[in-house]
């Protein structure tokens, strides 16, 4: 059942060969069988989901059930607010938080009549690359549970890879959709900044955060993006652009496509197996009629430093709201200042504190120009690198991550080693362009991800290339044994 695509499931429901209740029950059965090992879910919505499924069953066979996502179970990352369904952002500080409204993406999924089966584990407030920073428990990689699933959308990627849901929503600030998608062997897209509303996404770094879909196939990914993309007046940074028909771009045709391969993305530090998988993938695209050249994104090596300064600065401001006054877990204190300090010190984990500290420092009097403003200027140089390459090329291709998944515990003690893991995904967020990760091979039984980067709002080309590659290879058919 779990290798079924969205269109196949839709067809089964449409022909009444399957009811929504049966489908949603299948999802929960799978969760109850494998989640003990994978630990992708933070909170389950079993009662609510089964009730919603029953209500939708009455519409099967009618015009109202025509939507492609109708009745399909979905998992939602736990930093996306869901009305009445506990939303923790994997922080102890929000262990009792029941949102009063839905994020716009959740409203849009509800309008498409999907069924939210539960909330997915993540690194606390989306800060991390392994899910080991969850304030509750670490999600494991379904391909080998000694390994991390990646992060911060580790639960979102692992739940799809483990067949617990057919698709999920994640969020990506510096690679948090693409890196776990690569580690778990699924398809993950970070849309262009502004394409998907951030309203109701618990903010980490507002100039970088984007919500995006994680799926089994490129086609499924396009279906999901189609339903969540588009302008939202509740998000003032939401772009007022027309949403194209993404499905029409899945033609399989990449003849004449011009691919740029940054030499910095296959340089020292990139694992040999990863490099070989990417080169094999480029060969496949050449066979399909595309051409590729080596190019340079000369400021790539400054991306990690730039990103940590900017994202942490924004985070230090965004996370000021978690003070124990209006919601969340409040610590006992004699006076208000102590209440703030105790609530935050008890509620936040180490990584979150570290980033708040770095951000507060970078924004503090005397250091603002040297660190924060400097990083904003380097961001311009990184963005210009991309613009220059895109004058001559349609897409940029490289690995999603320098290595396949690493072992649980391997990098958690050294923040800088952990940060370096995002070196190939971070520049994309700084430039605001879209990028997808698709499976392109296995290394010692662990998936490798191919990253395809496009121009601003050119998700269509990104999907076209990803789909042509996927259809010409069998990588996406490999599934973990659990």
């Amino acid at each position: 059942m779990f290798d079924k695509s969205i269109s196949e499931l839709h067809s089964l429901l449409h022909k009444k060969e399957l009811s929504v209740s049966e489908l949603v029950q299948t999802s929960f059965d799978r969760i109850h069988t494998v989640d003990e090992k994978v630990k992708a879910f933070m909170t389950l919505n079993e009662e609510g989901a089964m009730q919603a499924a029953k209500a939708l069953d009455g519409k099967l066979g009618t015009e109202e059930a025509r939507g492609l996502l109708f009745g399909l179970p979905v998992g939602v990352k736990d930093n996306i607010v869901t009305k009445g369904l506990r939303t923790t952002a994997s922080s102890q500080l929000l262990s009792n938080f029941e949102p009063l409204h839905n994020a716009t993406v959740v409203e849009r999924l509800n309008a498409a009549e999907t069924i939210t089966v539960g909330k997915l584990n993540m690194d606390e407030f989306a800060m991390g690359s392994s899910n080991e920073n969850s304030g509750y428990f670490g999600t494991r990689n379904p391909w080998n549970t000694d390994y991390v699933p990646g992060g911060s959308s580790g639960g979102s990627a692992a739940s799809v890879a483990a067949g617990e849901v057919f698709f999920s929503l994640g969020s990506d600030t510096g690679g948090s959709i693409r890196q776990p998608a690569a580690f778990c062997g699924v398809v993950g897209l970070k849309p262009t900044y502004g394409l998907v509303s951030r309203f109701g996404l618990i903010a980490f770094a507002s100039s970088l955060d984007q919500i995006g879909p994680i799926t089994n196939t490129v086609e499924d990914n396009a279906y999901l993006l189609q339903s969540i993309a588009g302008h939202d007046k509740m998000d003032s940074t939401s772009a007022n652009v027309d949403v194209p028909d993404y499905l029409s771009s899945l033609t399989g045709d990449v003849k004449g496509l011009r691919i740029a391969v940054p030499k910095e993305y296959l340089a020292e530090g990139v694992d040999e197996d990863v490099k070989n998988s990417v080169l094999q993938s480029l060969k496949k695209l050449e066979e399909l009629g595309a051409t590729w050249d080596e190019v340079s994104l000369p400021h790539s090596k400054y991306a990690v430093a730039t990103y940590y300064l900017l994202s942490s600065s924004e985070a230090s401001a965004n996370l000021a709201r978690f003070d124990g006054v209006r919601y969340g877990v409040r610590a006992e204190a004699e006076n208000l200042l102590d209440l703030y300090k105790k609530t935050r010190s008890e509620g936040f984990g180490d990584e979150v504190k570290r980033r708040i500290m770095l951000g507060t420092f970078a924004l503090s009097s005397g250091y603002y120009d040297a660190y924060y403003k400097k990083a904003q200027k380097v961001r311009t140089l990184i963005k210009n690198d991309f613009e220059k390459v895109f004058e001559d090329y349609d897409v940029i291709i490289g690995p999603t991550t320098p290595t396949p998944a690493f072992k649980v515990g391997e990098k958690i003690d050294n923040p800088l080693t952990m940060y370096a893991n995002d070196i190939l995904t971070i520049p994309v967020n700084l430039a605001g362009v879209p990028a997808i990760s698709v499976p392109c091979g296995l290394s010692n039984g662990l998936p490798v991800g191919l990253q395809i980067i496009g121009k601003h709002f050119d998700e269509k080309t990104v999907y076209r290339v990803a789909h042509a590659f996927e259809q010409a290879t069998d990588h996406h058919k490999a599934k973990p044994e659990l």
Binding site: S207, L309, Y327, G328, L336, S345, L358, A362, G432
Partner: protein
């Protein structure tokens, strides 16, 4: 050379409304120093004539009419409050 001192870490922790014991101050001093060393790599670049990027898209100010719209009721707004009294959020005293 140490870029960050323990005193600075304590000062920043106070600005960020975080409480730390000595062991934590010690740990964060070392870790922040490492991270800031990495950040100083940016000084290799001449950015004298480079405009800072605050936002990647060409967005102008987004205005809307300043009009009252229904959102949450008072009861709803207080639903998640850890403590409340008389329809308001309650906190401990601000002044001694």
């Amino acid at each position: 050379m140490s870029r960050i001192t323990k005193e600075e870490v304590k000062h920043v922790a106070n600005l960020a409304r975080l409480e730390m014991d000595e062991a934590e101050v010690e740990k964060f001093t070392t870790q922040l120093d490492d991270i800031i060393s990495m950040a100083e790599q940016l000084n290799e670049l001449d950015t004298e004539n480079v405009e800072p990027t605050t936002h990647v898209l060409d967005l102008k100010n987004v205005m809307r009419e300043d009009k009252v719209q229904p959102w949450l009721t008072r009861e709803e707004a207080l639903k998640n409050a850890p403590d409340q009294a008389n329809g308001q959020v309650k906190v401990p005293s601000i002044f001694e």
